[in-house]
Assembly symmetry: C2
Homo-oligomer: 346 residues x 2
Amino acid sequence: MKPATIRDPHPTIRRKGAVVEVLDQLALPGRIVYRRCDSAEKMATLIRTMVLRGAPLIGVAAAYGYALAAKKSSSPLALKRAAARLLATRPTAVNLRWGLERMSRAAQRYKGPRLFENLMREADAIRKEDIAANARMAAFGAKLIKKNSTIITHCNAGYLATAGVGTAVGVVRHAFRRGKIKMVYADETRPYLQGSRLTMWELMQDKIPCALLTDGMAAHIMKTEKIDAVFVGADRIAANADTANKIGTYGLAIAARAHKVPFYVVAPASTFDMRIKNGDAIPIEERSITEVLNIAGHSIAPRGADARHPAFDVTPARLITAIVTDRGIVKPANRRQVKAVLRRTA
Amino acid sequence: MKPATIRDPHPTIRRKGAVVEVLDQLALPGRIVYRRCDSAEKMATLIRTMVLRGAPLIGVAAAYGYALAAKKSSSPLALKRAAARLLATRPTAVNLRWGLERMSRAAQRYKGPRLFENLMREADAIRKEDIAANARMAAFGAKLIKKNSTIITHCNAGYLATAGVGTAVGVVRHAFRRGKIKMVYADETRPYLQGSRLTMWELMQDKIPCALLTDGMAAHIMKTEKIDAVFVGADRIAANADTANKIGTYGLAIAARAHKVPFYVVAPASTFDMRIKNGDAIPIEERSITEVLNIAGHSIAPRGADARHPAFDVTPARLITAIVTDRGIVKPANRRQVKAVLRRTA
């Protein structure tokens, strides 16, 4: 299997010596802006305010955040506090915890005079591993796509959600290069509009034929056009394959099942949380309702209106055709297969 | 059965002598503005640009538009042209055709010197009948609602979509006055945001507890909270009860079925199109993609992005628990029951 080798001109995160630079996703698609980050506190803010987002990328960013904490102090307590602060930024994406736990183990290993440099190198390694994991997922996933396929995707599971080519969109990009993609529909994904702002931008940069849908359109499109598959990313996958992903994913999965459209999740091993049995135990982040009541700073509802803002939902394993991981494909999506695939080395 | 008697302070359409005034729904919820209309051409523009919308209201407005044409010329050809112009504004809502056909029959009946005045009175009659039809639907529909219910609604099927208390929201208002409503969730309904701008405004005016959802949230809310029913309006109902309504309705119906939540449509007899057998024959309006690519004049996608904009979708009868009409309740939603209920006099 040849992994996907696509190089994006504007990496989501990059290291410049003792400083990390993060592509500001809130400025996209209008402007390419990098935000300088030299502390764990700053990184926590960048994650919390969604300057960067996407479960795999959050894992990498948290690792750098942890390393940056060691620039200020190498005391175990300071590092523990930094980890707690980073962990608290987003509760659903488990890659965050995964990255921090790995860094914490590295800190044990490297304690001594060059702790900061060693931790930055460990974060570099996590970033590079994510690039490699993305390439493998893209190659595994592209095999699931037939020639001349029309795909629906939700939110942004593209390169902007990772350090590499992307998860769900990475698969689509790889398949496109093999001439298999006719069309991609991107759900706009309110309230944050990751689909319209980020996924459409990525697809257009790659010259992949694409069109934007509002979140209510997918079922109608599935009914009236030939849709070959849905591909989405994931923020946390329970041991039984129940999958938390951006709000709207669950409704999309129900619609896909009703139309017999295969529904694929693409996520690296770091997105699996084997400590929890099923999706009911996945914490769902409730974000500020201001994000729902406003679009681009413009109020769209009456003054004083109430709203709900669960940022994620859980799609039960029974609605998932397969999960593409960097270690292979989990199919059918169940506890036994999750275990079997994750046991493999990447 | 006592019909619902709720008077809204800002009627959607009102006659002032030889002129019609239309509440500008594009200015809501921020400002209450009435647009003066003294010709069929003007009315066609108001309908096409969605200054007013909602199938029953479009029917009433088209009737006034037709009458206003007679102010300029009473020639059958001029009236026919005006009708054609009005009919072309929105292809999906059949109430438009229904109103114009009724006005055309009235024009036959009234031809002579006072044609304009007589046609304006006919339009008045249509408006008053819509008020009465809404009141009856509200009373019929409220019986379907159990005490302490939480309801989801989509788009705006409120008073703003009619000349009366509203269709789906009319039912909810009536039920609320009887102490049956605990909570209403309103889908924001992209791209036009009728849910956030109009339905939330109506519900808040009535002090009905309510919260806004983005269109991707309903399935998650159904799964994690107790939702008692979905109530929506309709733009055209085929003879077999297949129902066209605002884009997003179909996905909502699929989600409701998956969660065993009753799914109710509320629409007057004028929304039924007995000339077509099933939903496949309902024309679905495709509107400008500019409306999807922008929100409140603000671009939300990369420059040059493509999009889709089907303004409606069709929910098959098998997903509809019942249809509340002004002549009674169609249950089960099938051809035989549609016929039986519409045969009754209102």
